[in-house]
Amino acid sequence: MFNALADGHRRGILDALLAGERAVGELVDDLSISQPQVSKHLRVLSEVGLVACRAQGRHRLYRLKPEQLRPLRDWVSSYEPAINARLDRMDDYLIQLQREGDDSDA
């Protein structure tokens, strides 16, 4: 997902799709890059589920699936217990250090 979003042209394609469905030819015009490049980027975006396509006559129309970005947030939030546990260990260690400091002062 990060990799799919990391490319400027792919973000350009997603931006163009924000306005609605587009055929490959229209994306080529919008972005001023070659059709093979547009097709390659669309394949990467399809693989991670960010775009979907349907056939209409001789054209394939691509559309955005922004709901696919939500799992990113869920994935990150699964690390919350680990974040809390690490800070709790740091807290305990700070308390222990200060207690030892007090003892050596006495």
Binding site: M1, F2, N3, L5, A6, D7, G8, R11, L14, D15, L17, L18, G20, R63, L64, K65, P66, L69, R70, L72, R73, V76, S77, E80, I83, N84, A85, R86, L87, D88, R89, M90, D91, D92, Y93, L94, I95, L97, Q98
Partner: protein, 164 residues
């Protein structure tokens, strides 16, 4: 017995690519900074107790790097590394952050420390960024610009009411 602050970290998500964690410690800011940045201290709290810390290297200067590795009880290796971008002792540390278990997920971590009446508040912002930002690793302006663009972009995609 003093009540402890366990589990009190506040974890927020200002955007899809940003995690902000705020936590208070009953300790002076200088000590908190030291415990965060001195490997002799870090080795005591960074890894879960049942795990073994195998690498704990910190070169605390702008452009210096850090590397932490611990091995979990089931044998999995967790490796974190990064480079320091800004250091203002004892109040601020900015570094790149790469957890090798999260492919592609490189981030910039900003840690800000502030002491009020003997209590130090740590605010840790972990901002994931894209490949464009990685190319500008040594230039803060490039990073922020890239990160801002990514954030605006993701917000525009996830804003409610968008067609699609």
């Amino acid at each position: 017995m003093t009540p402890n602050r366990h589990g009190s970290a506040v974890i927020e998500y200002p955007s899809n690519l940003e995690i902000v964690t705020t936590r208070q410690f009953d300790a002076p800011v200088g000590l908190v900074f030291d415990v965060l940045t001195n490997p002799d201290h870090v080795i005591h709290w960074f890894a879960p107790f049942e795990d073994t810390m195998t690498v704990c290297e910190i070169d605390l200067r702008v452009g210096g790097s850090y590397h932490m590795v611990f091995v979990t009880s089931d044998g999995a290796e967790c490796s974190f590394r990064g480079t320091y971008l800004e250091i203002e002792q004892p109040s601020r540390i900015v570094s790149t952050w790469l957890f090798e278990g999260w492919p592609d997920a490189e981030a910039v971590e900003t840690v800000e420390l502030e002491e009020v009446d003997g209590v130090t508040t740590a605010r840790m912002n972990l901002a994931f960024r894209d490949q464009t930002g990685r190319d500008h690793m040594t230039r803060t302006d490039g990073q922020e610009d890239s990160w801002d663009k990514m954030e605006d972009y993701l917000l525009s995609l996830t804003r409610e009411g968008r067609p699609g």
